[in-house]
Symmetry: C2
Subunit: 371 residues, 2 copies
């Protein structure tokens, strides 16, 4: 048993590293706004995306409904690329037709479907949860990293590095049943608000992406979330917010154990991470959770690169799309230099391989849903 735990802890270090970066970045963000990273280095502009071939008068499944299901997307190459792809794979008898059960679309969550700045939503939850639990832990007043979280000095809190982050995560995400954790997450989402937009986090989702999810489903696609975030942190809200049922959410997994407590079966979230659904873990999560290679994949950062590569490498037409955070006015502009949602290598690969790069500034009429 001890060996297993040690193995889990070792595996956790990758995600803890990510979280550490994110929290450190959060510490910086509390004193200054995220730098407009795109000014730091030249980046390929969206016009470098090859123009799709002119649509050959397709007769897609939506031909019966001339309503534009993507009203928040500006007309242009990006929208044409999406619509052209969907027309191709849904045109029965066409050379690129894909049967509905094989129309699998995968979406990253943080930065692709909802805002990930100034800190990941799950980190905001973690910090709030430390504050909420503090009265039950008087020892935290003098014990790092909790002491500094409680005094608002995140930079100091994270001086302990991965070990400190691990302590924060374990203290807030484990040691309860899955049902208890679900309740905790649901209660948090019901009241927590985004520090910049002042709305519930569930309304800091991207309106154009909500339309894209619904548009794909209207065309027979099955839509999945494939996120580095915790599976059980996302599931309480994905059905209501994205129309994605729990069985179509893939995420990172806590070690989980079946137990009988007073004869009642429960699942207990134990310290340790069973699976990290990030970077090279995403194709593995997709393979184990879906078992078909996606024909459409959507991400926004280097953590999505392998998912996009895996999806792109199958036969037939593919829609591989990066959401590029180019809008410093309506949202936050960041890419190559950002600690959160760093988009560097995947942006180069998008340029080299002709993946679609959606510019939030140019391609999106609106960012968030109307309130």
């Amino acid at each position: 048993m001890r060996k297993r735990r040690r193995g889990s802890r070792r595996r956790s270090s990758a995600i803890l590293g990510v979280l550490a970066w994110a929290i450190l970045s959060s510490a910086c963000a509390s004193s200054s706004p995220p730098p407009p990273v795109e000014a730091e280095a030249p980046r390929p502009v969206e016009t470098s995306v090859p123009a799709p071939a002119p649509a050959p008068a397709p007769t897609p499944a939506v031909a019966m409904a001339p309503v534009d299901l993507l009203p928040s997307w500006n007309d242009g190459r990006t929208k044409q690329a999406i619509q052209g792809f969907v027309a191709k794979v849904t045109t029965e008898g066409g050379p690129d037709f894909v049967p509905a059960p094989e129309r699998i679309a995968v979406f990253d969550n943080d930065g692709t479907l909802w805002s990930e700045q100034p800190i990941y939503v799950q980190l905001a939850f973690t910090l709030d949860r430390v504050r909420e639990l503090a009265p039950r832990h008087p020892e935290w007043k003098t014990k790092e990293p909790f002491k500094s979280v409680l005094s608002g000095d995140l930079k100091k809190a994270l001086a302990g590095g991965e070990k400190a982050v691990a302590e924060l995560i374990m203290a807030t995400h484990t040691g309860m049943t899955t049902e208890e954790f679900q309740g905790i997450v649901e209660r948090w989402f019901a009241t927590a608000k985004h520090p910049k937009y002042g709305r519930p986090y569930t309304e800091c989702v991207y309106q154009p992406m909500l339309e894209l999810l619904a548009y794909l489903r209207a065309n027979g696609f099955k839509t999945f979330i494939v996120s580095g975030g915790g599976l059980e942190f996302m599931r309480p809200i994905t059905e209501k917010v994205y129309g994605i049922p729990p069985e179509q959410v893939i995420g990172s997994l806590a070690k989980t154990k079946f137990e009988l407590r007073d004869g009642k079966p429960v699942l207990v979230r134990e310290p340790g991470i069973a699976f990290i659904d990030d970077g090279p873990g995403k194709p593995v999560g997709i393979h184990h959770g879906i078992g078909r290679r996606p024909i459409a994949a959507f991400g926004n950062s280097d953590g999505d690169q392998q998912m996009l590569e895996w999806s792109a490498a199958g036969p037939g037409p593919r829609l591989i799309l990066l959401v590029h955070h180019t809008d410093g006015t309506r949202e936050v502009a960041y890419d190559r230099g950002s600690h959160i949602g760093k988009l560097d290598k995947a942006l180069d690969e998008a340029t080299a391989k002709g993946w679609v790069v959606a510019s939030m500034k140019d391609d999106w009429k609106t960012i968030f849903p109307a309130q």
Copy 2:
């Protein structure tokens, strides 16, 4: 990295133990038929299942189609329990109505949907694969456990216990990409035949269970397989045979790694087991893979006990059913004393809790599909 492997190996020991039993049993089976275990100990007969309350003139979703979707099930308490449950949860406006997205049904595979005697199908594959690979491994002629597998002496092959089983599994199931393994499994299923029934393994499935799967889906259920077997051993056949798409199959997982080979992304099956979907692992697999508690669960052995307990413990009506192998003439009669598909504690719990116990002998008109 070494620590992680060691952890995985340690975790594998549980399933390897199961496999060792199964192969040992197989070795015995080759010299004598499985004993009629039910004669060894008194077991609760199916009449101990509480009769369902008389159906209060339900108006289920199937009322429009008076066709019996379960023609291979004899009329009686078991069939009434199934139909009564489905009527209850599909009657809109009724007190027990369950919305379609929450109608989750989980099925064990070995012994519940298809035959698991005289050895698990996956073990038959393993042994065939050792024989097929032997020409490429001249060293196996003198190296145990391969030597004894090749000479047909399974008992001797397994003298090495778990270590020997691990060697057989690793030599046949890992060290290739997921796509290569899929091809190997597909080719095997295309030609291999069951030693007793002389038909392809994909036709050694239970006709009444095929009807039950289709009946539940016709009533808005989403059907999942939750099996201790290898996920990627099952998926190549589940859609064609059971109508269950790959994303609705949950099974044991090999350690899997993303790699770029000559720029092409592949997933490599590595030595080691990442997850064991058996016994207490089944509720964990259900929770991670589905995220909703099933309202109907079907199994046949003690390896399904925790899955049945977990499914039974939710609110509202539940259909919890054990397939009881009582038919020594048309199939194989076994329960408490069997090494494969041992049904002992779960049978006691079924009696105590009023779960439905389907007797293959009494409840099923036919066992296998017509050829």
